[in-house]
């Protein structure tokens, strides 16, 4: 059977099936299999649906056991494509290079946020999606002619056009300098990786769900262009924002020139803009994520705010009664040691706390250590502040269980969160679910999740943090009150609520998209529709 016939047959099977067929695009395959993962809750809550996991990272494929999943879940990882396609047909190569040149022209344009160039970017990306779709793009990108086209387009975009000279001055000063051949080659090399999702053949699903706006978003766009598969995008945090800040935090790729960095980040911004415009629905992991999505072109009507991102409260912990507090004044911090954790503020604040409450103890439990230097710095600070007698530092084994974490939180009177690179740290919901008072900083989606269930302070404000810790340690009634509110709020983040949200969202998107398709077909003089809204009602077993 030829690939065209096979694809048509697959599409027919999908379209005539009454069980919704969902493609999930994600880069974090390993996170799906956790015992309290959002995906496990979704699979359990939507037994009438079939799920096809499209892993975008081939290296992570081995980390996901397939035997432990029900039969409604299947997995797919990208297969290596034949690389030796250097002598691509002339017409294909020409189309590819034209699209590539358009893409680079948009990225190198002096105004990186103009609306007009957004459609050019999308058209170029759609053309590349058409050229990929089961065929490799890397050989085309790594060729001499591609590098020349990139160089020409880049230089052309930096030259002011004759008519532009007569117009008003450019709104923004150019950050890009004249590129060299090395930069053209580096950009082609980076695009090889960035455009990899377009090389796969997207599944002919009824609906796609992209987790994150980068590569998963591009894969979902690819499915939309190729198979008109509508997609939902959930963003626990804005990947683009993380990339902006990661550059600063890590100073990672020193070999990368400023030009390449700017082009790369502009590509990601344009991609985010395109994904938001094409997504049928967006799930924002926090209020901040929602604001960023709107800023980057999403329609506010499309966005559903689901504070907490992909975090769910554990049902087994919620159903258990609250364990009694320990008698000692124990404060627990649990999380990943790194620059975002801001342990320095916590330790300095605790130094103030123990002056008032010498019996207070701080228990630091590192679930992971980002960098050995961070750990060493933290331990050195404990020594220099002479906190050795009242601060216990432990690194949890990588295979620690949820019960181990529960034991740690239960040993505390107060759980503290001094900072996090994540929009919502896992410790927050865990502490709330287990009925412990929380003192946290106002970062990311923490205020959305915590609500009235804890005390919030500004990041880096050690005096406020110390004051909150002292207040909580000294007021048992307040702790009890916060714990009760926290338990109630944690129920809002239960798996049931999560499933209900997705059930409604999927049903709405499928219905809307189906009606939209019908309307398009009717306009095109083809009233015989292949879909009807009833085909995709959730919960209808055939």
């Amino acid at each position: 059977m030829t690939p065209v016939l096979a694809a048509a047959a697959r599409r027919w099977v999908v379209q005539t099936a009454s069980r919704p067929y969902l493609a999930i695009y994600t880069e974090a395959l390993a996170e799906l299999s956790g015992e309290d993962s959002w995906f496990r809750a979704l699979v359990g809550g939507l037994p009438e649906s079939r799920f096809q996991i499209e892993g975008l990272d081939p290296a992570a494929a081995g980390r996901l056991g397939t035997a432990q999943w029900p039969s409604t879940v299947s997995f797919s990882v990208p297969l290596p494509l034949p690389a030796a396609d250097r002598r691509a047909a002339g017409a294909r190569r020409e189309r590819f290079e034209t699209a590539l040149a358009d893409l680079v022209t948009v990225l190198a344009a002096p105004d990186p946020v103009s609306e007009a160039s957004g459609s050019t970017f999308e058209a170029a990306l759609a053309a590349l999606s058409n050229l990929g779709n089961g065929r490799p793009l890397s050989p085309l990108l790594q060729s001499d002619s591609a590098a020349r086209r990139v160089l020409d387009a880049w230089r052309g975009a930096l030259q002011p056009a004759a008519d532009a000279l007569l117009d008003a001055p450019r709104p923004y000063p150019s950050r890009l300098s004249e590129p060299g051949v090395t930069e053209a080659l580096a950009l082609c090399g980076w695009l090889c990786r960035a455009l990899r999702p377009l090389e796969a053949q997207p599944p002919a699903a009824n609906l796609a769900h992209a987790v994150g706006g980068g590569a998963p978003g591009l894969a979902a766009l690819h499915g939309w262009w190729r198979n008109a598969t509508p997609f939902v995008l959930s963003e626990p945090q804005i990947a683009l924002r993380e990339h902006y800040l990661k550059e600063d935090r890590l100073k990672s790729n020193r070999a990368e020139t400023a030009n390449i960095r700017i082009m790369r980040l502009r590509f990601e911004r344009r991609l985010a803009h395109t994904v938001y415009r094409r997504a049928s629905a967006l799930i924002a992991g926090s209020e901040r994520v929602r604001r960023w999505q709107v800023q980057l072109g999403a329609s506010p009507a499309q966005i559903t705010l689901r504070s907490g991102g992909l975090r769910l409260s554990r049902p087994d912990w919620l159903s258990q009664p609250v364990f009694p507090e320990p008698t000692g004044a124990v404060v627990v911090w649990c999380g990943e040691v790194g620059p975002g954790a801001n342990l320095e503020t916590l330790l300095r604040a605790f130094d103030l706390v123990r002056r008032r409450r010498p019996e207070a103890r701080l228990r630091l439990c590192a679930q992971a250590v980002g960098h050995a230097d961070d750990l060493a710095r933290c331990q050195a600070l404990i020594v220099s502040l002479r906190l050795g007698s009242c601060v216990a530092f432990e690194v949890l084994p990588s295979d620690h269980s949820a019960a181990d974490r529960a034991e740690i939180y239960r040993s505390a009177q107060v759980v503290v969160l001094s900072g996090s690179t994540e929009e919502v740290p896992a410790a927050l919901l865990d502490a709330m679910t287990l009925g412990r008072a929380v003192a946290a900083v106002r970062v990311g989606g923490v205020p959305d999740v915590l609500g009235a269930a804890g005390l919030l302070s500004a990041p880096n404000d050690l005096l406020a943090l110390a004051r909150h810790l002292l207040r909580l340690l000294g007021d048992a009634a307040l702790r009890r009150q916060l714990a009760e509110v926290g338990r109630q709020r944690a129920a809002l983040f239960s798996a049931d609520a999560w499933v209900q949200l997705h059930r409604q969202l999927y049903a709405r998107v499928l219905t809307e998209e189906t009606l939209k398709n019908e309307a398009v077909r009717a306009d095109a003089g083809n009233p015989v529709g292949e879909f009807s809204p009833g085909d995709f009602e959730f919960g209808d077993e055939p």
């Binding site: 990186p112 001499d144 300098s177 800040l245 600063d248 609500g451 919030l456 500004a458 406020a464 709020r489």
Partner: protein, 485 residues
């Protein structure tokens, strides 16, 4: 309770006041935007778009609320205004100086040491199949040494498969060589005993070829991993012990001790190569992951083709040709690395491709030309010095081959031949960095091997043709922008 509610539903705890932004001045101070612009001057210069500045503003504690208190709008509005401000433009990049990777010069002598250690242990065994097996395994290891997947990042997971491949290919090559050797000797008296003898030779050749293939592949891995001292220790000790035993061991024990030396060499070399440890950084010119002659190949074809040409040349003019090629290999690699580094630096400047091509011809064509002149002149000068001083040893064929034996006929031709061989190896080393050129290199070296084997008037003529063709190929490679990667 709505999940969207925030901040105003927090308990009436005393809020810590404004965020810890390092800004001063009262609210609505006109100096705040200016302070923000100054504070973020580096970020403004390199920001890809206004949203990047918004992210940095948020990260430094400048929330919407705080900015609105200062009548500045939300964080995105402030970021757009900051992004529109004039900046100092991109900073010029100061290129780091290109250093010649001197440590690579040792690779040539190391290869000679490894070869001598293997040959010494083979001689100690006292069977003709042993030396043949060393030659066969050396050819296999040479090919694997020049194989890109082997030399590019031979991670812990890839080493053992490579070692197994070396052992299997070595065994096959050893068996075939031993069969050829036995057939050519033809000492057996009856057809039956001849068949038995052939099988015995093939078995012995396979065994020894496998062992030497394993050892020499491990040696290649040690060089690729930059474990010079370990390689020198293992193979230097094996050479010394093997030679010492060969000269002083009791008659009845020499073969058994030679077997012990061989097994010891195999175990230590393989153990050292398979041991986990630090791998050279890809950016370190001395410990560059290439670690071997050529890099980036998907097939070892050109490595074996050049090995074949060198073998034919050795057969034609003597072992000194091979010795010269091996000894100079480190220098040639260093020069090829320098040429490529120079090209990368040129390509980093904002030249148009045509101008880049003109500028790139100097290092790519100039370095081989300079090498040709230097080697030829060096040989001639040494020849003059040798003959005028009448130093002992000047009659050795090795010196003659390099043009040092003034009395020998064709000494000048040999000097030119040595220079041509060096240039061909240098050009080949540089061209092999570019995957598109490797099939061409394979064909060229095979053709050269064929011409060398043919009874032509002079053996250096094929080398001259090879150098001229490689020069054309080099010029062609420069017009391909991917060459500058």
């Amino acid at each position: 309770m709505s999940l969207g509610q925030r901040r105003n539903d927090t308990l009436d705890a005393p809020l810590p006041g404004p965020p810890p932004a390092p800004l001063s001045g009262p609210p609505t101070s006109p100096g705040v935007p200016r302070q923000l612009a100054r504070q973020l001057r580096l970020e403004r210069r390199q920001a890809a778009d206004p949203e990047e500045l918004a992210a940095r503003l948020e990260e430094s504690g400048h929330t919407d609320d705080w900015l609105r208190e200062h009548d500045l709008g939300d964080v995105f509005e402030v970021a757009a205004r900051l992004y529109a401000l004039k900046t100092g433009g991109p900073r010029p990049v100061v290129a780091a100086p290109i250093k010649l990777p001197w440590r690579r010069l040792w690779r040539g002598p190391m290869l000679v040491l490894i070869g001598l250690a293997a040959l010494s242990s083979a001689r100690g065994l006292g069977v003709p199949e042993a030396e043949a097996a060393v030659c066969a395994a050396a050819a296999v290891a040479w090919g694997l040494l020049t194989w890109g997947p082997l030399t590019w990042g031979p991670g812990a997971g890839q080493r053992w498969p490579r070692l197994r491949l070396g052992a299997v290919l070595g065994a096959l090559a050893g068996a075939l060589t031993a069969l050829g050797l036995a057939a050519s000797l033809g000492a057996a008296s009856t057809p039956h005993s001849e068949t038995v003898e052939l099988w015995r030779s093939a078995g012995l050749g396979a065994l020894l070829g496998g062992l030497y293939g394993l050892t020499l592949t491990a040696a290649g891995l040690l060089l690729a991993l930059g474990r010079w001292r370990v390689a020198a220790l293992v193979f230097g000790s094996a050479l010394l012990i093997g030679e010492g035993l060969r000269r002083s061991a009791p008659d009845g024990w020499s073969a058994a001790l030679a077997v012990a030396v061989l097994l010891g060499l195999v175990v230590t070399a393989v153990g050292a190569a398979g041991r986990p440890g630090a791998e050279p950084s890809p950016t370190d010119p001395d410990g560059d992951r290439s670690g071997a002659v050529w890099t980036g190949a998907s097939r070892p074809g050109d490595g074996w083709a050049s090995g074949l040409a060198l073998a034919v040349l050795t057969w034609r003019v003597g072992a000194a040709a091979l010795l010269w090629a091996l000894l100079s290999l480190g220098l040639l690699e260093a020069l090829a690395w320098w040429m490529q580094a120079h090209l990368r630096r040129l390509a980093g400047q904002p030249h148009a491709p045509a101008r880049l091509l003109r500028a790139a011809r100097w290092p790519v064509l100039g370095v081989p030309a300079a090498l040709l002149v230097a080697v030829a002149a060096g040989s001639a000068a040494a020849q003059l010095g040798w003959t005028s001083l009448g130093w002992p040893g000047s009659g050795w064929t090795g010196f003659e081959w390099f043009g040092l034996g003034g009395a020998a006929p064709g000494a000048l031709g040999r000097a030119c031949g040595g220079a041509l061989l060096s240039v061909a190896l240098l050009q080949s080393t540089w061209l092999a960095r570019h995957p598109r050129q490797r099939p061409r290199l394979t064909r060229l070296w095979l053709l050269c091997a064929g011409l060398l084997a043919a009874p032509l008037a002079s053996w250096w003529l094929p080398l001259l043709l090879l150098v001229l063709t490689l020069t054309l190929l080099s010029d062609d490679a420069l017009s391909d922008l991917t060459t500058y990667r």
